[in-house]
Structures are given as structure tokens and as C-alpha cells.
Assembly symmetry: C2
Homo-oligomer: 411 residues x 2
């Protein structure tokens, strides 16, 4: 099944905001066997919106549209959809009640602007927006379906899962069952992995596909299965996941669409271990990634960002003579940083980084992108150096991931 | 002048990677008076690419295309463009030399794949890619121009500025001069700002426009001027910026497209002050934002991420009885955290946060989104509480910005 996406908003076109909704939709529909044909980003303009719909329907029978529904803009999109599909704007009491409830939760009263959200095209089926005031609208004509969702990412994401996907499944997959499983694989590069899984892939039953989704430092494997025989599909998927675990051994770092920070968190929680980080070149980014995971306070105690050498010495207890002798970007320094932060915060595990993120500060011996990192757990401590490509942001990002992977290698 | 953007790549369509190039292009072309008509994201597929070009040319005379030029994919895009514009793939010695130089800088030798980059359509003008192996290609036919750029963001960005924009100016703006100025305004919300600048806006000379670009906690004002009379334009722009500074007083936080972390950094550097952060709910994100700025080691000493209360007490010296009496998310605790990290790291200034980022941990009295923050500079210390909307990521993000703005209010 193919579909198209249209993201509406002047702010998207001029680059003030990035459209992340289309990607979110794709990541949730691809595993269901849905294939994105095109994404269009268009202005808050009736003519542009109509042309975009025409083009999308020329490609596919299903169009998911996001944005253009804010109270100051809804006349354009709602009015345009109303004209496009026929009908007129009518007052919807359920939507009005929903708007009042959502606003009350935010401690706000409904004003004139937000009240207009209750006017919806008579030709659409309304899906109540549980987390915002703009209703989701489902239009259908001559076998073509268009679903209009709000553009605020957390509203799009919540209502895609709670409201839109269930209706899509009901409408397009009656009688079919879709299952998917994701495995995270660490420490094997994609080409080696493909060789190792060559036979496995050839032997996949009809209707089941394997996809490789490589990221820096890891590969996600996604199995998607579609079948009208739910029981066989279920048994096949279970058997295949078991086979993958056997083939991959310790390289398989867990099921699911986990981030590296989530994998680290799960391992720590399982083993009842605590973590602290000591960061120089990553500047707090590892702590930020770890604490971006809800519930991380179970295992994460804290971090010392030791940007200045004085902080490395005075707070983390790094030997000043080592810094003088071999520099702050060195193996002895990251080892002492990791051990030092564990001692300071009383944790079982530690991660440390020290490197040159650039653009300045590089030398012939230690060019920009040189990052020393250490990880320790109990008495065990390991250190390694990486030479990472890209600009400052990429070096910080990659170094953060690599340092977490280093810890995983000893957990 | 209108233009369209096409981003090519299966990885963009399926949401594995987000297209940030189109936004980057828009942010750089809008100030030059160029208006984006549509963005299309399409698959690595010849038919899809051709249809996207047809559609883009139906809208606009200029199309900027990114992606689809990796050595494993270039057959599709280059071959497609070659067919579309006529001509054949020919060997280009300059491109081959450039590929060799770029690979040598990376310490790599040219393999068979990368060598194919030197084959380019005979109908295009080549712009050498200074930071990658895929050449930029400029096609022109019947007054229509298509520019194909690589998709790797840092290559797109670098070569847009160095190679593509200069040629666009030469081709489309001969005789015209374009100037722009950006001001960052802090502490005035957009609607108040619009009222205060009402008269200023009405009196703007012909050809000069003012745009409001609001972000959480600040508004960017962008003046764009286009004229054939370079001298008058220059004088007008200077005069208008001065007028804006007069009208805005201390609310104007500096010229340029600066991030909040950059504004903080510039103020600190100007005043020869140093900074440390003590972060609980922001989990190191403020340190990460501050250190994402190149050269931040001039003023940033480090951070203590005190996720656990023990770290607040033992490392930052927060009074345990205060935590017991009023909780870690409270005014006395953030005040002591800010003062504590300044003492620990010997800095002039400090920022501290403690809050409930969610989804768990909220209470009736302190719901999710409640964040206490403090900032100090010398003897002066201020604290405030914010109730921030959204999910965990948004709360962390907003709290980080608000805490930096709090420091700015006393710098």
C-alpha cells in the first residue's frame, strides 16, 4: 500500500521549523507494510494546498496531511479541504466539548479563536484530538482517503498512534495481520552482518522481509511480516527472532527500537548498576542523552563536565603531571576521569571523554576529531581512541555514541 | 524570485534521516529575496525523480536538488539528469583531481566507486565540491535552471555558501544589491514587539522589509533590503539598525543569527566572566548547548549534573535538610546549586536547574513541567519557577533556554 504525505506551513518552507512529522509517520507506517511515495511541503495557501492534494492523489490513494490547522490558520486549510471534498463548515458539539476539556487541562479558557476549531467540514469523519484543540479530519471520496492532522509534533505523534493508525488498519487491513520485530545489533558492520545473515535471508518465508537500518556504531534489523494466517505468522516471527539471536550471539543488544542511551539504561537497570559520566569534549551531551530517557534517575547519578583542566584535577582528581606530560586528550587522563567520577558520585560504572571537537585546537599529532574515551565497571576499565569525521556537532554526537558503546562492550 | 527544492533519498522518505537541507537552503535564500514554492522528498528512483523535476519546473524556473549522489546511488540521479537535460556522461579530469584531493585529506585512496564521481553529464556546468567527492552540477535549458547538490548536510551547507549562492547571485541579481541584518530581541513577546515597532515598520523605505521570527524566549528581527542603488541601501540599513537599537534598548541582545548559547557566550567573553552550570532536570543539556559553540572553553569551565540528591549535597554542597523540607525542586535548592557550582569550579557566573521533566514524578503541587532555575553572577543571584508545556524532551529543551535567558537578564 502506497501513501503520500503533505506538510503544510510557511514556517516549514522558509526553514524556520523542520518537518519531522513526515518521517515520524513513515517510521510508524513502514513496518505495517505501507510505502511512502512522496513528501510535499507547501505554503499556507489554498491554491498550493489544492495542487499538492491533486499531485498526491495522482500518485497514491491515501494522503496524510499535517499542519495548517492552528486557530489563526485553520480557515485556509479547513476551508480548502471543505471546498475540495464538497460540503460546508458545520458546528460539531463533540469537538467543542473536546476543545473545552483540552483548554481546561492547560488552565486556559476557550477564546474566540479556539472556538472556531469546532467548525468542521460536513464531509469529514472527525477523530477527536486528545492532546490539542485541532480535530483530526478523515475525508474519503471515490476510494481516495485524505487524513488531515495538526502540525504540532507531539499532537501529530500521539494522535497518529491513538487515532489514525487504528482506523487505517481497520480500513485497509481487514483480514490481514501485520507483525514486526526489531533487533539492535552492536559491533558488526552492515556488510559483515549481511554476509552472516545471507542464508537466513534466503530462507525467509513468503511475506516476511528483513531490513537493515544502519546508524553510527550499530545496525537495526527489522523483520516485517504480513499474512492472513495470524497463527502461522506469529510462530514464524518468533522462530526467526530466536534464529537471529542465535546467529548474532552477544552482538544482539536487545529487541525493539531502542536508542543507544536506552540500551545502556536497560542493561544498567537489569544488572542493578549505577552510572556517572565525566565529559570534556562531549560537554554534557552523554549525560543529556542518558537523562533524555524517562526513568533514568533509577541508574544515573550525575556527571562532571570538566571542560577546564582545573576541573579535571580539582573535581575529578586527575593527576596534573599527566596532563602536562601527555596532554588532556590522552589515555591516562580519560582513565583517571572515569575512575574519578565513579569515586566522586559513588557509582558502579563510569564513562569519560576527552578530545578535540574542533574547529580549532587540532595539531598534527592530535587532529580535530581525535577523541579518547574510557569506560569502567567495577574493577574493569577500558580505553580507546577514535578519529571521528565531520564538524564540531558531528564529532560531539559520534563521540557520545561511541563512548556509550564502549561501556556496553564491558557490561 | 521563486524556487523549488527536491530532496532525494529512500532514507529521507522512510524517516530514517530527516531532510534538513531544504530548510537550510531556505534560511540562506530567503534573505536574498528568494521565495521557496514547494519542497518535494522523493525516492532514489529515476521515474520519481523525473516527475518531481517536471512538477518543480511547472511551479518555478529554479530548482535546487539535494541528495542521491552517493557513489552507490549516483548512477540513478546523474543518469536521470543526463537523460532529462540531454547529453552523455563524460569523464571530467578536474573532478577526478578533486576526488583524489578530498580522499587524500581523509587519508583514503580512491576506489572504483568514488572514481565514478568523475563521470558527469556533458550538459552541466560543474562546481567543484571542496568538502566531498560528489560534484555539484548546474543544468540550464530554456531559461530553467536545476542545481544538483550532494545530500550530506555539511557538504550541502558548505557548497551552498561557497559555490551555489555566488553563482545564483551572478545569474539572477546582476545590478541588484541585497543586504540583510538580523537582531535578536529578548524579553519582549512578539505581539508587544509588533506594537512597539508599528511606526518604524510603516516608515520603512521601499524595497526594505522587516520579518518577525519568534522562538521560545526570544524574537529574531530580520531586515531584508534589495536595491539597485547600493550606497543608499547600505546607508538605509545602517540607519534602520541604529533606530531598532534605540527603540529596543536593552531588549536587543545583539546582531546576527545567534543562538541563545552564543549570546550567553559573547556576553561572557565581552565581560571577561566565566561560567559553570549545575543541572538536575536539564541533565547536562545546558552544558551541551554552551559547549556546542566553538571556542566556549574561553569562558565555560564545566558542569555538575546532579541527578541524584546525594550529588547535590556531596558535590555541590546543597543543604540536605532543605531538600527534606521543601524538596529538590525548590527555590532554596537551585540557589544553593548555582552558588555551589561557582564555588566548586571557581567561576564568576552559574546557572542551576531542578524540575520535573516527566512523564513520571509529577504531583498536584509540582506537576510535570515545573522547573525551578537560578542564575548568579558575582554577588547577584536570581531564581524563578517556570511551568513548561510538552513532553520530556520539550521540557528539557525549554528549561535549558529559559535558564540561559535568566542568566542573560543579570549579565
Amino acid at each position: 500500500m502506497k501513501y503520500s504525505t503533505i506538510a503544510i506551513g510557511d514556517e516549514l518552507l522558509i526553514g524556520q521549523v523542520t518537518d519531522t512529522n513526515s518521517g515520524w509517520i513513515a517510521r510508524h507506517l513502514t513496518p505495517l507494510g505501507w510505502e511512502p511515495a512522496t513528501v510535499q511541503v507547501v505554503a499556507d495557501d489554498a491554491g498550493e494546498i489544492e495542487r499538492a492534494i491533486d499531485r498526491a492523489f495522482a500518485d497514491t490513494d491515501v494522503v496524510l496531511m499535517t499542519g495548517g490547522l492552528g486557530p489563526t490558520k485553520d480557515d485556509i486549510t479547513k476551508g480548502t479541504l471543505c471546498r475540495y471534498f464538497g460540503g460546508e463548515l458545520v458546528h460539531n458539539a463533540d469537538v467543542e466539548r473536546n476543545v473545552e476539556q483540552v483548554m481546561a487541562k492547560r488552565g486556559l479558557t476557550v477564546n474566540e479563536y479556539t472556538r472556531t476549531q469546532a467548525m468542521v467540514p460536513s464531509t469529514c469523519r472527525v477523530i477527536q484530538n486528545e492532546v490539542g484543540t485541532a480535530p483530526i479530519m478523515w475525508f474519503e471520496r471515490d476510494g481516495k482517503v485524505l487524513i488531515s492532522m495538526p502540525g504540532v509534533p507531539h499532537e501529530t505523534r500521539t494522535m497518529l498512534e491513538r487515532g489514525v493508525i487504528p482506523l487505517l488498519l481497520e480500513r485497509y487491513h481487514s483480514g490481514e495481520d501485520i507483525e514486526f520485530r526489531t533487533l539492535v545489533v552492536i559491533g558488526i558492520i552492515e556488510s559483515d552482518l549481511a554476509m552472516r545473515l545471507d542464508e537466513f535471508e534466503r530462507a525467509l518465508p513468503k511475506g516476511i522481509h528483513l531490513a537493515y537500518l544502519p546508524e553510527p556504531g550499530l545496525v537495526r534489523l527489522r523483520l516485517t511480516g504480513i499474512s492472513t494466517d495470524r497463527e502461522t505468522l506469529n510462530a514464524d516471527m518468533e522462530r526467526l527472532v530466536e534464529q537471529l539471536h542465535e546467529l548474532l550471539g552477544t552482538a544482539s543488544a536487545g529487541d525493539g527500537d531502542l536508542s543507544v542511551a536506552e540500551i545502556v539504561g536497560n542493561r544498567l537497570r537489569d544488572r542493578k548498576l549505577t552510572l556517572a559520566t565525566a565529559e570534556s569534549c562531549t560537554g554534557g551531551n552523554i549525560a543529556h542523552l542518558i537523562t533524555s530517557v524517562a526513568g533514568s534517575s533509577d541508574y544515573f547519578m550525575g556527571s562532571v563536565v570538566s571542560y577546564a583542566n582545573e576541573v579535571k584535577m580539582n573535581v575529578l582528581g586527575v593527576n596534573g603531571s599527566d596532563i602536562e606530560a601527555v596532554g588532556a586528550v590522552s589515555e591516562p587522563v580519560v582513565r583517571q576521569m572515569a575512575a574519578g567520577v565513579c569515586r566522586l558520585m559513588g557509582t558502579d560504572c563510569g564513562i569519560a571523554t576527552s578530545g578535540i571537537a574542533g574547529p580549532g585546537g587540532g595539531t598534527d599529532e592530535k587532529p580535530v576529531g581525535t577523541v579518547w574515551m574510557a569506560a569502567c565497571c567495577g574493577d574493569r576499565i577500558v580505553a580507546t581512541v577514535k578519529h571521528l569525521p565531520g564538524d564540531r556537532a558531528r564529532v560531539i554526537d559520534r563521540a557520545s555514541t561511541e563512548a556509550m558503546l564502549l561501556l556496553l562492550s564491558i557490561l
